[in-house]
Symmetry: C2
Subunit: 144 residues, 2 copies
DNA sequence: AATACTAATGCAACATGATTGCATTTACCA
DNA sequence: TGGTAAATGCAATCATGTTGCATTAGTATT
């Protein structure tokens, strides 16, 4: 579900992470928090024509470093970014949830409410992170 | 574990899928079957300098269509291809196993022996495929 | 074995996304 | 109201993915 926040809260968020409150960053935040699906850089570019794409690239990078968003690859291998739930901090992400990629609308959904079952790896493998991907139809697309 | 096969078996494999037995295809097959990790197109290019990269691109595509190999994205979002286990057929892949990406050697391992636990999706989501990703250290890299 | 037909390849060209360097502008603190 | 470091814009480059088309090579047929 999209998280509702206002400009003041976005400014607080930037301040908390020692990032300057710029127009570009606030617009990126408001767009990403308004959606319930992950956002790719092309998504941002198609809306914010006046912001250079390198700026968007760097905004996404710094937000990821700070633990504000996390990266998810969709079925095409293109990077999408989703707002982190609680548990993500600077250089320390906790995104071990299910990522659902709709094959119809291409939306990438973070299903935070689903925790991953524990996995027993073969001897020698030492896992530091897990992600479960699913593809299929999202609620909207399956209702048609 | 790497699957050992000889040239005659690769030729049979191509014939079985109604593909012409060309040198480029046989070399790609022998390289991919000799490894126990997935192979990216750049991997192939770095070894087979005499084969055009578009040819390699098309070989990978047709092998994937035929169910000989399947695509896995690594942590950087670049496509890697791994030999399919049994259960993959033309236009019908069964690759619902764990993919382990080593953060040190960058190797992508298909852990076919691990079956995925069953997942209950939220209402409305209709999954047609699952993939579980793990990252960390592979046996070789964790032994150092 | 020579021929004919189709698939496969090589090359050029283009598309898209990722990434860096550097000059200029802007946010923010003293 | 400046001064300073951070943020941005722009140019440029690299990597990967993708298509069109002419040429080459595999294979079935004679
Ligand atoms: Mn997520
Ligand atoms: Mn696999
Ligand atoms: Zn959908
Ligand atoms: Zn390793």
């Amino acid at each position: 579900m999209a998280q509702v926040k206002n400009t003041y809260q976005f400014e607080d968020l930037l301040e908390k992470h020692q990032l300057k409150k710029t127009g570009a960053r606030l617009r990126v935040l408001s767009m990403m928090y308004a959606k319930n699906t992950a956002t790719s850089q092309p998504d941002l570019e198609s809306v914010m024509h006046d912001i250079d794409r390198v700026t968007l690239y760097r905004i996404l990078n710094v937000f990821e470093e700070k633990g504000i968003i996390h990266k998810v690859f969709d079925l095409n291998g293109t990077a999408n970014y989703a707002v982190c739930s609680s548990g993500c901090h600077e250089h320390h992400h906790h995104d071990e949830h299910l990522h659902f990629n709709c094959t119809a609308c291409k939306g990438v959904f973070c299903l935070n409410e689903l925790s991953l079952p524990s996995i027993n790896l073969p001897a020698g493998f030492q896992a530091s992170g897990f992600t479960l991907y699913a593809s299929g139809l999202c609620p909207k697309c399956s209702a048609r």
